[in-house]
Symmetry: C2
Subunit: 406 residues, 2 copies
Amino acid sequence: METLWDHRFAQRTQAMTSSVIREILKITAQPDVISFAGGLPAPEIFPVREFAEACDTVLKEKPSEALQYGITEGYLPLREFLARKTARDGVTVETDNVMITTGSQQALDLIGKIFINPGDKILVESPTYLGALQAWSAYGAEYIAVPADEDGMQTDELEAALRSGPKLIYILPNFQNPTGVTLSLARRRRLIELADKYGVPVVEDDPYGALRFEGDHITSVVSLDAQMRGQCSGCYTGNVIYLSTFSKILAPGLRLAWVVAPPQVIFRMAQAKQGSDLHTSTFTQMVAYQVACDGFLDRHLDVIRSVYHRRRDIMLDSMKSTFPEGVHWTRPEGGLFLWVTLPESLNATKMLAAAVENKVAFVPGTPFFPAGGGENTLRLNYSNATDDGIREGMARLGKTLKQFIK
Amino acid sequence: METLWDHRFAQRTQAMTSSVIREILKITAQPDVISFAGGLPAPEIFPVREFAEACDTVLKEKPSEALQYGITEGYLPLREFLARKTARDGVTVETDNVMITTGSQQALDLIGKIFINPGDKILVESPTYLGALQAWSAYGAEYIAVPADEDGMQTDELEAALRSGPKLIYILPNFQNPTGVTLSLARRRRLIELADKYGVPVVEDDPYGALRFEGDHITSVVSLDAQMRGQCSGCYTGNVIYLSTFSKILAPGLRLAWVVAPPQVIFRMAQAKQGSDLHTSTFTQMVAYQVACDGFLDRHLDVIRSVYHRRRDIMLDSMKSTFPEGVHWTRPEGGLFLWVTLPESLNATKMLAAAVENKVAFVPGTPFFPAGGGENTLRLNYSNATDDGIREGMARLGKTLKQFIK
């Protein structure tokens, strides 16, 4: 059987790999392991009652529309709702700027489909979100890695990197996956100036922006770009493609996200989406709209922020009391993740086996580095485990670390 | 604005076009036009009550699972259900043979992603399903067109076409879109023999197979392939990738379909799907499973078949009494479409404007021919209009035809 298929697959499949994280999640899925490896929201605060009511309403009031084929760009009232919502951040956005996608992962895939020729370079922060690398490597992308620190991508290294001619800049400005750090306002401004100067579009991936539980909101890159261009009415026609998602503010099981971009980009993405899945589920779009349309989202975000705030604090406190000296970590002001740096001599991938023996799991940092490195780093998720689970898990991880750090 | 983006798009977007049909649907969407142009199921028989109950049950019994991230290959009980369902047609299928996709359009896209290098040739029936051409052209596919008649693809022309080295054979064996014709048993056997001889995989796209309302079921190509190989237990490991969907047997608004293929192909498709949309909505998968698992599907199929049977009969009778001489059409034994051939001198695309003036619409046949031709053909859908709508619409179309055929 092997020989029947092996030679048939396309060249691009050579670049395709299963997500390292998904493989790790399988290993760490033993029931008695406390896992900080995934990136799952807290399921106990999913708005289940609101979903049940919304399903009921949608199927009572508009069953034929909800179960029928829909428009590729998405359910119109939801697009209008998202245009209004985006405009609150200071960028004027019209319905033609908005498209619904089957999760942000699909938006990344469609961006790959319409922009990337094999060999094109994408400028990314290092470390960066693995799912983007996975989506774009399938189209033959290569990467230029710009290092990041506690304020996000180091924009003083950006201009040199831009001179090598990247096709796109990819950035997660808020509570970045994997590090949890946030791009400062000054660096956001510098980013859009340089992107404009070199004529390179910016993909702003913002799944966590609404999950800030500490500090002040920083204006999005797309809004700063609109302001720089003096665009204060009509369609947004600037240089940024903005992505966000319902996965972290309602529920990931719906597979619902959205893109804000110039109409010309939306047009091409919709063309590509026709060939990819025709359209995103009409039913889940209408249910999400029904749940979100009356201001529920703002009330629900308060709940999520308060839970994640508490869990981050528990994790930070537990780390402080149980981790040995020489281990450092970020202090995210929102989102789902924090980032741990071990002494340079240590290898987090090798340490994972010992951790799993101690019934605790994390994701080693190396897969997030497109150009290699980061062997002594690891990512921890604080949104999914319970409060007590975090305390016990950090104790187990501290114990593991002490086996390596004397 | 135009210049900011125009030069940025990838070469492959040159091959990307909006579906001609979607553009036509916009023109023909005036409320007083009776449209036979789309491919929509009858919404009045969507099982709305069953969906509402299933949403309720799923959100009561498994809310955390339904709204959370899920496995790329799909919800396990649904995959097991589909493996058992497929096995009823005489091919032994295990869970590892089955993957859930976001509509069959996604399965076509993933097949393009894992198989097609730019310039690869795909062997198709002519005319064939436009969505497949759209999905694969984005990966640089070219097409070898084999003509079809009342018994489907003319397999006596297949061997010559196979000698030119296609990467895949694509076929819709049952009530084909756009023609409504069905591939005969003898030709199915010939197809799998030749595909095996030349080592070319077959993509069997079967959205309508369960919608036979007349005549006898013909064994699927994947089952015949398994039988030819003497595979009567274990995983299917043959030469066919089989696609089917819930869009025509439950509701298209869910975007739920499935693939049956050798595990090696499923593995690669799942890798590609991770980068495309991570996984299909857990919620819609669980709702569909809840609706389908207790035998409801068989009862519901009886309803769909009976409605489509009646509507096909009304359309055929109306055409017979109102169409002028010299016009011919197919007599599908199931599915959603029939195919009209006008006298050779006529052009269906030009005739569409006159039809819309007479408040009736169809899809001209040419876009379905990958190598051109078919100017005198058109497709009619009989599943979506009401009984009276079909009678009135055919009278209007007959009137239009008589303006051209004296």
